[in-house]
Amino acid sequence: MYFIVAGAGEVGFHLAQALLEAGHEVTVIEADRRRASFVQEKLGSIVLNEAADEGRAQMEAGCSRADALVAVTGDDAKNLVICQLAKYHCHTPRVIARVNNPKNEIVFKTLGIDETISSTRVLMSVIEQELPTGGFLPLMPLTGSQLELIEAEIAPGTPPAGRTVGSLKLPSGAVVGGVVRRGKVVHPHDETKLEVGDRVIVFAPTATEGEVRKALFG
């Protein structure tokens, strides 16, 4: 497959290297001349020394025949525009944006960029998974919607422990999609009583994450 990587910082450089090693064709677009020649030295003649947020540079990189473009600069507004230009101007079938400020994930989705990666959110998920009592884990945003999937482990002394699914004070638009109890999936009804240690899977509008947390942990 043919990939365009916009931005050759640490993320872009290693991503390009990994894609090449996996046997893909890659073009890296990097505006900084010194950084571009560094990447060229390491990875070969796959670098275009241009600004990736210019339509002309994207055309030159062949974005209309690319299978995907990934924007991984350190500037959210730039990543948004790079992806939108590829989508509107070159009709690149798949665009993926790195989002530095996790709050911008929902903004990008609303503005038509469905696939976003926030390293902050990924790190938070890992950290929160490790915490003994704060078992609240936003798993992933759902493509093509403003919803996300959240997993939470019912802790002792929290509002849901020993209560029914129907009594949860979830925000509007949020539903319990499943309960994992001792390694088995339980189909939840309003009357399903939640036990300490149950893992509850919730579908919720991304903006209501805080309210979901409050409903499950008080």
């Binding site: 959210d76 507004a77 939108q84 230009l85 903004v107 503005l111």
Partner: protein, 167 residues
């Protein structure tokens, strides 16, 4: 009208002054820059001393900052920072998330300006507007240049009457 202006450089400050003098309610957002050259100067130095509107220090692509600036009840938002991408992001947030009716973004790259205009974001490119105007002045094309130049000379005269800011 309630107007939010993102980016208070020379153009943003000038326009905020014009609107304010006409009795419109204007909120101006400018980023808290960390560059030392910038920090020494007043944030909103380009606003006229008579400006009665709000000034908000923050990132104009941040939903919370835009809310503070009153974007939810704004009739118009103008994105006039030095960054084309930031302007396009702020304008799209205003239009698609907050439903602001009139949204205009300054986009100096003419290619980007055109692509986004086709997507329904009103853009203007200083490059093409100024270039076209200069061309018309040189060619003495009165139809294109005259009205605009007359109007801006009037505004300049008003500005010159302004007392210089203290300090």
């Amino acid at each position: 009208m309630n107007v939010v202006i993102v980016g208070c450089g020379r153009v943003g400050g000038f326009l905020a002054g014009l609107l304010d003098a006409e009795g419109h309610h204007v909120s101006v957002v400018d980023i808290a820059s960390t560059s030392p050259a910038r920090a020494e100067r007043a944030w909103f130095q380009h606003l006229p001393s008579t400006f009665k509107g709000e000034t908000i220090l923050g990132d104009g692509t941040d939903l919370e900052i835009l809310r503070q600036a009153g974007v939810e009840k704004a009739d118009a938002l103008l994105a006039l920072t030095e960054g084309d991408n930031r302007n396009l992001m702020a304008a799209q947030i205003a239009q698609k998330i907050f439903g602001v009716r009139r949204v205009i973004a300054k986009v100096n790259d003419p290619v980007r300006a055109q692509i986004y205009r086709r997507q329904g974001i009103d853009t203007f490119s200083r490059t093409t507007i100024l270039g076209t105007l200069l061309f018309a002045m040189l060619m003495e094309d009165r139809e294109v240049g005259e009205v605009l130049i007359k109007k801006s000379l009037e505004h300049e005269k008003d500005l010159a009457h302004e007392p210089a800011p203290a300090g």
